[in-house]
């Protein structure tokens, strides 16, 4: 059965490849500029992290992406597993000398790569802010005066501190997640459940559920 994967070409790629390798899905060697490699009936596509959920929504069977981009893209995909890697958090960040809290940001301007997530967060808190979409280096927003604060991913916090910023609120914890196309989950039910099952078996905490799934496969197929 043909099976297609889309993997993020950024910081999550190595751990995603290791995870697939651990369940027997080796990604073939590829030239650094190759965006797709094939191994028999399996194909692996390498896409920008932000685009992974879109590819899965539109027909690629399986993908791995950060929960931050899944939330931002709002794609209609299944998310059967959350992984213990790619961990970081999405936060509200302001200049270190600022004295306001998140609840006092009514009317402020926030720069971010994640405008939908940002709007959802402030809307749910009943705080009206102006959101400016930037495509990267959002730390520049407060520096050049186009925003009062930013919403961005915080990992070690080094970039934030190096740019004279501090975290003033956490929006959500972020980690890598497995994505499955809604139709593939049906048309490739056994194959996809087996992959999910194998990944779950890597984590002892999930063994019971994996056993349940295995029993169900036997009864169905």
């Amino acid at each position: 059965m043909n099976l297609s994967f889309v993997l993020p070409s950024g910081r999550l790629l190595e751990e995603s490849a290791n995870l697939l390798s651990a369940i027997g899905l080796e990604i073939p060697e590829r030239h650094s500029r190759e965006m797709e490699v094939k191994d028999g009936c399996r194909s692996f596509v390498f896409a920008k992290a932000f685009d992974v959920p879109v590819y899965v929504e539109h027909g690629i069977d399986i993908g791995i992406a950060g929960s931050d981009v899944v939330s931002e893209r709002g794609c209609d995909v299944f998310i059967p597993l959350e992984f213990p890697f790619g961990k970081c958090r999405m936060s509200v960040i302001a200049p270190k000398e600022s004295v306001f809290s998140v609840s006092e940001m009514e009317g402020y301007t926030v720069a971010t790569k994640y405008p939908k997530t940002t709007e959802r967060f402030f809307d749910s808190a009943g705080i009206a802010v102006n959101v400016v979409k930037l495509h990267g280096a959002v730390e520049l927003g407060p520096k050049v005066g186009i925003s009062d604060a930013i919403v961005d991913i915080v990992d070690s916090g080094n970039t934030m501190r190096a740019n004279g910023l501090k975290e003033i609120g956490i929006i959500s914890e972020v980690n890598a997640v497995l994505l499955v196309n809604r139709i593939s989950q049906k048309t490739k039910f056994g194959t996809i459940n087996e992959i999910v099952n194998r990944i779950r078996n890597l984590n002892p905490r999930l063994t019971h559920a994996a056993q349940m799934l295995r029993n169900d496969f036997k009864s169905i197929h």
């Binding site: 998310i79 139709i183 049906k186 048309t187 559920a209 349940m212 799934l213 169905i220």
Partner: protein, 296 residues
């Protein structure tokens, strides 16, 4: 190259002709509804609008518009074509049908047969229909009222990790796992087994993880899809109105146009007589050349 609007329109027009003929063959009458209605609690969806005095809904959910108009107990068979809003501000075209006031099993089997007839009429042969039960799911979720919302969100995305991490009884987790992982023809859930028993086995399945969320759905829901598309073509479910049972579906016409192989030229080449013959064949329910009798 920019898409040719008129060529695309030709295909949509061709499809809609074939679909209307199928509805006609099944004795469904086309219903025409206002594109804007004054807001009431019984209407769903649509774009909210106000003129400063009153609140309106532009293009509300068609099923809720039809239900709102059913004042007396009788059998209703209606179909519609309508624009509808996709959540991102853009529009698409949907078509669908409602069958109300008959035997509930008869309604479900017939509507699902109509769906299959339409797909055959537009030459989409590799399609599947998965049927699920909201009632079955709700019976399990009723045991964890405080975690119901969280579990429902997890079910929407089939998120195994969230369920596993919940501090709930292991038996309930097991029941939820079964919902995630069953797809077949015999589920042990009587209301689902009865429906698929009447329908051809290569296209109709029970997938207990099929969950559609419209607040008027009572129990049975279904999704229609084809491996040719990464997105569902449509779906539907059952509801109650004026002490009558109803069952209906909607499908995205543009989504269907993307997977339907024929073009508008083919439609024009068919004589009216040939078309009628084809639709009659399609109605003969439905697949495999075998007639399916509905026992109620």
């Amino acid at each position: 190259m920019k898409k040719d609007f008129f060529s695309e329109n030709g295909k949509i027009a061709g499809l809609s002709k074939r679909i209307r003929a199928v509805f006609d063959d099944w004795n469904y009458e086309e219903i025409f509804l206002p594109f804007m209605e004054e807001y009431t609690d019984s209407l769903r969806g649509g774009l909210k609008h106000t003129d400063g005095k009153r609140f309106y809904l532009i293009k509300p959910d068609v099923t809720s518009q039809i239900i709102d108009r059913m004042k007396q107990r009788k059998t209703y068979r209606y179909f519609y074509f309508s624009d509808y809003f996709l959540g991102d501000g853009s529009c698409s075209i949907q078509f669908g049908a409602e069958f109300v006031g008959a035997n509930p099993l008869q309604e479900k089997v017939e509507i699902l047969q109509v769906v299959a007839s339409i797909l055959r009429a537009v030459d989409v042969s590799d399609f599947y229909v998965d049927v699920g039960s909201l009632k079955h799911l709700n019976e399990i979720l009723a045991k964890i009222p405080e975690r119901r919302r969280e579990a429902m969100e997890a079910l929407k995305s089939r998120n195994f990790t969230v369920i596993e991490d919940m501090n709930i009884d292991e038996e309930i987790k097991e029941a939820l796992w079964k919902i995630f992982s069953f797809r077949g023809r015999k589920s042990g859930i009587p209301q689902l087994d009865r429906i698929v028993d009447h329908l051809p086995e290569e296209h109709f399945f029970i997938d207990t993880g099929t969950v559609r969320y419209l607040d008027y759905y009572e129990d049975i829901v279904f999704e229609v899809y084809t491996p040719s598309s990464g997105k569902a073509l449509g779906g539907g479910g059952d509801y109650a109105v004026k002490e009558m049972a109803g069952f209906g579906f909607s499908m995205d016409l543009r989504g269907l146009a993307e997977v339907a192989p024929f073009n508008s030229t083919m439609i024009r080449e068919q004589s009216g007589k040939k078309r009628r013959t084809k639709y009659a064949e399609v109605k003969n329910p439905i697949l495999n050349g075998k007639t399916v009798e509905v026992t109620v």
